[in-house]
Symmetry: none
Subunit: 150 residues, 2 copies
DNA sequence: CACATAAAGGTCAGAAAAGGTCAGAGAACG
DNA sequence: CGTTCTCTGACCTTTTCTGACCTTTATGTG
């Protein structure tokens, strides 16, 4: 199998693991595949293009990175799916992570993310007994993103 | 995570805790992060700039300090005021009305409005006893718009 | 008060650590 | 063969971080 295909597969895996977001370091990935760093650019440019539904961000300098985000074509469908994926309980931490993913994927604007996050925070649910919070939070979260999809 | 990001996060935390004002000592913060004092300047210059809505004051000499102030724009200030205006209880109907008002005033986008409305709906709060809902809803609503203002 | 000293913070050049670009050599494929 | 896809290396730009040196302010001292 071609090297670029292997690299692409590896990135695709990271995308699955990361729920649609992969963050990598060019040099270390290149080292891992024993290739030139620019090869990573090549793979990204040929396979993870906007036309294929990906968005790429990067940052140079110390601690730099390349972030690849899979955009899902049908915003609504994906939101509905995400809502379906919420279980019967949801911790504050999980809700923050999911929100972050949705924002990264461009399904929520940063503002919407903040709003959702705050609405699901322990602070907002202070009235409720702690042991009830996670169930309630799941409901709020689900309704909120379903509402957006409407 | 990069050092500068950690420092920035730490300052952001101080800003939240201080209600928009953070006062720090360059050297002790640098010591805390084991970095050069000028690194603190770097972080402030690259992240807490006027374009990003921050104001920085400092004072040299004994007992010197660096003070960072987050400027609120009109939108934020109004949202904070609106949040303050929410009482201890809020019916679904009232929350819908207020949301509508905020959207009309351009303080919330239509999407944000839908999200907020759904998160505060009786559906989302189905888990809670009806007589508790309005108190809870008030909290969620307040937190949500305060979160936007942050 | 005048002065000296210590205790801050400010500036800037440059090293180091990333990622970006592009021309061109090979490889694969028709 | 000619074309298209891979891959590399040389060189560039951006971001981070540090250290040497400078300025400002507070405070003690004769």
């Amino acid at each position: 199998m071609k090297m670029s295909d292997m690299i692409a597969r590896s990135i695709a895996e990271m995308l699955s693991d990361g729920g649609g977001v992969a963050e990598l370091q060019r040099k270390s990935l290149a080292t891992h595949f024993s290739c030139a760093p620019s090869q990573i650019n090549y793979v990204i440019e040929t396979r993870f293009t906007p036309e294929n539904g990906y968005l790429v961000e990067s940052q140079r300098g110390g601690g730099g990175y390349i972030r690849i985000i899979r955009l899902m074509d049908d915003r609504r469908r994906t939101l509905v799916e995400a809502a379906r994926g919420i279980g019967g309980r949801l911790t504050q931490n999980s809700s923050a992570k999911i929100t972050q993913t949705l924002v990264s994927a461009g399904l929520l604007s940063p503002s919407e993310g903040r709003l959702l996050l705050s609405a699901c925070s322990d602070g907002a649910l202070a009235e409720v007994l702690p042991e009830e919070r996670d169930r309630l939070r799941a409901g709020i979260f689900r309704c909120a993103i379903l509402g957006l999809a409407t």
